[in-house]
Structures are given as C-alpha cells and as structure tokens.
C-alpha cells in the first residue's frame, strides 16, 4: 500500500506539523530560491523564443523546480548528476553558464556540444553533469555503473540519477535498480513523478501504488516526498546520499510533483488533461511556497524579489544577445568525434562535402 508523503513546508510556507527545517543557512535558502527563479524565468523566456521561431524546440520544468534544485543541492560538488532532460535547475545550481546553455539551444559554433543535439541535450562534464540523451530511461543503468565504478575505485562519490514516472516502465529502470541492489551501488534514484508521460497519466503507466513501493522489488529503500517542497527534497536526498556514501546502498526517492506546462514546446496538454487539475497544482507552486517561507522567516523581502527579477532579466538578455550572434558550427565538425581519430571513410566523406562546400555555404 502507498507510502505517506514526506513534507516539511506546507503550501502556505508554514512548517508542517512535527516537521523541522533541515540544517541549512538563510544564505543557502536564498540560493535555492534564486536558482529556482532563474530556472523558471529561463524556461518562460525560452518557450517564448521557441514560439518566435528563434530556437527549434524547448523542454522545461515549470512546477518541478523544487524537486530538481532541492535534490541537486543535497550533493557534494564531487558527486555526479545524471539527468534526464528536465533538470536545468540542477545544472544552474552547479553554475552552468547561461551563455553555454543558450549556445546549446541555438546549436551554434560556441555550443559546447557543437550543435550536435536538440535543445536541452547538453553535457557538462566539468560540473560532473552527464551527457543528456533523448531515449527515456537509458541513463538509469549508466548512473548505476558510474556508482559501481566509484565503489570499485574506492572514491566516495555518490551518483544522483533523475528520471520521470514514465521512465520507470522501461526495462532500463528495472535492470538499473536491480544492479544497484545487488552491488549496493552508491546511487540515489530520483523519480520526478509529475503525473504525466506526455499524454499518458500515471494511472495508465503502472498499477503500483506510487513509485516508492517499487523499491522493495530490488531490496532498496523507497521514500515518497512532496516534490514541491524544496526542503523536504533537500533533506531526503541528503539522507539518501549520505547513506549511499557510507555503503548503505541505493534509495529510490519519489518526488510527487506536477508538470504545469506542456511536455515540451511540441505539445498541447489541453488535448488530454483538465484545466481543473492544472489549477489544483498551480496552487502548490514550489516557488511561492519557498518564497512565503523566506519572507515569513525574514530572509527575504518584496524588494529583494524585485531586484532579483531585474537581475535575472538583465542576465538573460545579455547572454541571449551574445549567444544569438554566434554563427553555426563549421561543416567539418559533422565528421569529428565519431571516433577519437577520423577514419578513412569519414575523411573521404568530408572530402566529398568539401568540394561542394562553397556552394553549400550560402545555404547555411
């Protein structure tokens, strides 16, 4: 039967009864909020950009920021983040430069991944943030393997693997969780149960009573957390990460949250879900909840907020301008990085293209 949902902050920002704040400084609390707001504003702005045809696609996390930023904040910098495609907040928390992000969204010459993948599929190894893939669930056994490697190499790294409720239906979730149990790998599974997999509601995704109950099938601990409560997410992820670090094995955290917008800019959720349901969750907005707490706790004021809004707006504008000016990657880049060295057949194919290049150039 289903597990209770762990909560620290109520939607109105007051402490849940019997709950206490995790050990976190006011400064840290504000950092969480700043990251969540930045995440929200970037998402909103990029969705506009896509509508204007300035980027081809965008996938955001509006409504799920607390589950992402709160969990990422629980890690040490030496720990790994293995994202799905909706965890921009985790990257921003680690300091992912907006310029790099925007260049990736444009797929331009300054895109760190050379314009190879769709928007939102960046890779930030320098921040221990893994390469993002589209196929749902593939990162899960990979994250477990990374954790197994940490254990074999006797370094105390923890791996935090993000995925959605739909991903738990994949074979990759199953084998990943099973390997984690067998090898007691230092991994934390963070399932953002945002209730939908594009148009498929959670009730059609599985007959289990939530996600956390699936942990027992692998000899893992499972916990259910209010995913719109950044403190509860921080606290539970910390506990899971420390347990993993100390050799206690993996935990499956179910963050109960909601995807307030469409699946991506390609989606129109009105085709499959009710406004009432969306409105119900809008009231639980994780940013409102945290801000109410900060104001009540006197860590934050209306003024601070206005300042921050302005700051973020400027920052986005500036970086966007810079990024939008950059041209496309060079044609030759098509043939790089297939292997460490470019074999004869790819050199030959590049030659073929080079001969057409000048003609081609104008088409860019």
């Amino acid at each position: 039967m289903s597990q209770p949902i762990i909560r620290i902050l109520e939607p109105d920002g007051t402490l849940a009864e019997g709950a206490e704040l995790p050990d976190i400084s006011p400064k840290q609390q504000v950092r969480l909020f700043r990251t969540m707001l930045l995440n929200r504003r970037v998402d909103q702005q990029m969705i506009r950009l896509q509508r204007q045809g300035r980027i081809g696609f965008y996938i955001g996390s509006i409504g799920e920021e607390a589950s992402i930023v709160g969990s990422a904040a629980a890690l040490a910098d030496s720990d790994w983040i293995v994202p799905c495609y909706r965890e921009l907040g985790a990257a921003l928390y680690r300091g992912f430069p907006l310029f790099d992000l925007f260049c990736q969204l444009f797929g331009n010459a300054r895109d760190p991944i050379k314009g190879r993948q769709m928007p939102n599929h960046y890779a930030i190894p320098e921040l221990r943030f893994a390469s993002i893939s589209s196929p749902v669930g593939t990162q899960i056994p990979q994250a477990v393997g990374m954790a197994m490697a940490a254990k074999i190499r006797k370094v105390k790294e923890v791996v935090l693997a993000y995925f959605g409720d739909g991903a738990t239906s994949q074979g990759d979730f199953h084998v990943g969780a099973n390997f984690a149990g067998v090898y007691r790998a230092p991994v934390v599974f963070l399932c953002r149960n945002n209730q939908w997999a594009i148009s498929v509601p959670f009730s059609q995704q599985t007959a289990s009573d939530g996600i956390a109950v699936k942990a027992e099938a692998y000899g893992l601990e499972g916990v259910r957390v209010d995913g719109n409560d950044v403190f509860a997410m921080l606290d539970q992820t910390r506990k899971a990460a420390e347990k993993a670090r100390e050799g206690g094995g993996a935990t499956l955290i179910e963050a109960v949250t909601y995807r307030l917008e469409g699946h991506s800019t390609s989606d129109d959720p009105r085709a499959y879900r009710k406004e009432k349901e969306v409105a119900y969750w809008k009231d639980k907005d994780p940013l409102l909840r945290l801000e109410r707490h900060l104001i009540r706790a006197k860590h934050w004021t209306e003024q601070d907020r206005q300042q921050l809004d302005e700051e973020i707006k400027q920052q986005i504008q500036t970086e966007l301008k810079r990024a939008e000016r950059v041209g496309p990657p060079p044609l030759e880049s098509i043939f790089e990085d297939v292997f460490d060295e470019t074999p004869w057949h790819l050199r030959e194919q590049w030659e073929e293209m080079r001969q057409l290049e000048e003609v081609v150039e104008e088409k860019v």
């Binding site: 331009n108 997999a197 594009i198 496309p328 098509i334």
Partner: protein
C-alpha cells in the same frame, strides 16, 4: 477524390481495416485519447473504443512483446513506435522473436503484425528523432520492410501490410508526413508489397530511392532535365524487403547507370545491398560504378542536418560522376 497528406492516409487505412477486421488493434505511447504525437491515430479510440485502441506504458520492449503475444492469440496488432529512433529497446523482441516465430516453429506459429514507426530526418530532431534504421531490419530474415513516399501508397501499402501474414516494419517518412499531399481514393484498396514504382521514366541514368528521398530525387531529376537535358529515371522502391529486383534491373539495364539515394548512413546501408546486387546481376550493362548518395557515417546531427541529408546538389554531383565516368 479527397486530397490527403500521409498522416491522413495512414489514419484512413487504420480506420478502414479496423472496421473491416475486428482483430485489428492499435497500441502505443500516446496513440489513444491523444491520437499520437503525429496525430496518425486521431479519432480511432473514439470510434473503436479503448479496448482496441489504447495507450501503453513507456516501454517499447513491452509494446512489441505484448503485440507479438496478441498476434499469437488471434489478433492483428498494429503497434506504433513513436520514433524509429526508439525502436531499439524492442530490437530483441523484433529480430529474435517476431522475425523467427514462423521459422522456429516449423511454420506452425505465425506472427502477423505491423509495426508503424516514423523515420528519417529533416525536422530538426537531432540524434534521436531523425534516424533511418531500415537496414537493421532488412538484414533480419523474417521481416518485411515497407517505406511509402506518398499518401496513395501509404494507404494502399498499410492496408496490404495489415492483411499480410508476416511481421511488417512500416516506416513512415515523417519529414513529408504533411508536405506530401495527393489524391487518395475513398474506401479500401491495396498496393502490393514487394513492388517498386517507376515514378519518372528516363534513359540516361536510374535514381533508386524510397521514403522522404523520393521527392528529393524527383526534384533532382527535373532540374537535371531542365538544366542539362538529362533523362533520369526515378524508382521508388516502396518495399525494401522483399524488394523489387526485376524493376531495378530492367531500369539499370536500360540506362546503364545507377545512383542510390537514402538518408541512412552509407556503410552497410540498404544502398550497399542494391549496389552489390546490381553489380552481380547487371555488370555488363553498367557504364559506370553504382554510386551512393546517403547520410554520412556519423550520428545524425542537429544544426547541420540539411548538410547531412542527401540534397539535389549532392545527387547531381553523383549523377555527373556517373555520366562522366
């Protein structure tokens, strides 16, 4: 006659076959209430109910595994894989199970099903929304592989595929899902599997292609005719397994020159088989080597996809090479 695009043609074929044969069921991610991310199954759940048209959990290996079971127990499932790029979790079920079921059981167990999946690039889909994996399936004995290029064929071939008693991979050219429009007869009709179509007659050279590259090949042939008075024959294969060798050979024996065009990477792509067979069987008629204009041997890029995909310019160059050989 109504003018349909490929999505509408596919949708029409599904509707007609579901009306005609209650064994036909449709399953996949988002195919039910939502009608599919490309809307190809729109309206089916309303008409046929959630028992025959239903969403599945997010698991391709489950979709195909379950569909095989349905085929084994009296149904004719038409599972959808949302993008061909996501078919690989089901690869074992397709190549080791569906493809081998008839053979391994001595012909006593059959597995009639049609796996519909959109394939190919040109929609800014990057690595994972652009792939053309047809060669994997053509290389797997026991699977038929179909790839229409226009609404008329899409409807007629899909109806044939659903009535066929073998597992069929039905690859839909998503780049031209809506762009390719044409008159489509109302009601049932079939286009025979295994038959290519000469979509443009010519004497100087044969362009052999399929799927979304057919319009590209035709455009190339037209400009080549205008600009250089070249007479290029264009063959739309339509079915890749079993493919229509007689039509290919007849054309190549006539023109003496062949260029094969496909989006998939070159090495071991379907073009390799065509080139090998043409050389085996028509060598003495060839006045030039068979050239291939294909996607490069790299993963599918995002920003530069239009340079990755075969385009008229690249095809023209291959045509020139062949003619000046």
């Amino acid at each position: 006659m109504p003018v349909f695009n490929i999505i509408q043609a596919v949708n029409d074929a599904l509707k007609l076959e579901m009306r005609r044969d209650e064994r036909v069921v449709v399953l996949g991610e988002d195919v039910g209430k939502f009608g599919g991310v490309f809307r190809a199954t729109q309206g089916l759940q309303e008409e046929f109910g959630a028992e025959r048209v239903f969403d599945t959990p997010l698991a391709e290996q489950g979709i195909i595994g379950a569909a095989i079971g349905m085929a084994l127990n009296g149904l004719r499932p038409v599972p959808e894989i949302q993008f061909a790029d996501f078919i690989y979790p089901a690869f074992d079920q397709i190549v080791n199970e569906a493809a081998k079921m008839r053979y391994r059981s001595g012909g006593r167990v059959t597995c009639p099903m049609v796996i519909r999946t959109p394939f190919g690039g040109g929609i800014r889909g990057g690595h994972y929304h652009s792939q053309s994996p047809e060669a994997y399936f053509v290389h797997t004995p026991g699977l038929k592989v179909v790839a229409p290029s226009n609404p008329y064929d899409a409807k007629g071939l899909l109806i044939s595929a659903i009535r066929d008693d073998n597992p069929v991979i039905f690859m839909e050219p998503k780049r031209i899902y809506r762009a390719a429009k044409g008159e489509v007869p109302e009601g049932e009709y079939t286009v025979e599997l295994g038959k290519a179509e000469v979509v443009r007659a010519g004497d100087d050279l044969t362009l052999i292609t399929y799927g979304a590259m057919v319009p590209t090949a035709l455009k190339t042939a037209e400009t080549a005719a205008e600009e250089d008075r070249l007479s290029i024959e264009v063959i739309d294969l339509r079915t890749l397994m079993p493919y229509d060798l007689p039509t290919v050979l007849e054309s190549v024996r006539k023109t003496g020159r062949a260029v094969i065009v496909h989006e998939a990477p070159r090495t071991c792509g379907f073009g390799a088989e065509l080139a090998a067979v043409i050389n085996e069987k028509a060598m003495l008629h060839l006045e030039a080597p068979v050239y291939r204009v294909t996607g490069f041997d790299t993963p599918f890029p995002y920003t530069l996809e239009e340079h990755y995909l075969p385009n008229p310019r690249r095809i023209r160059r291959a045509v020139q090479e062949s003619l000046s050989f």
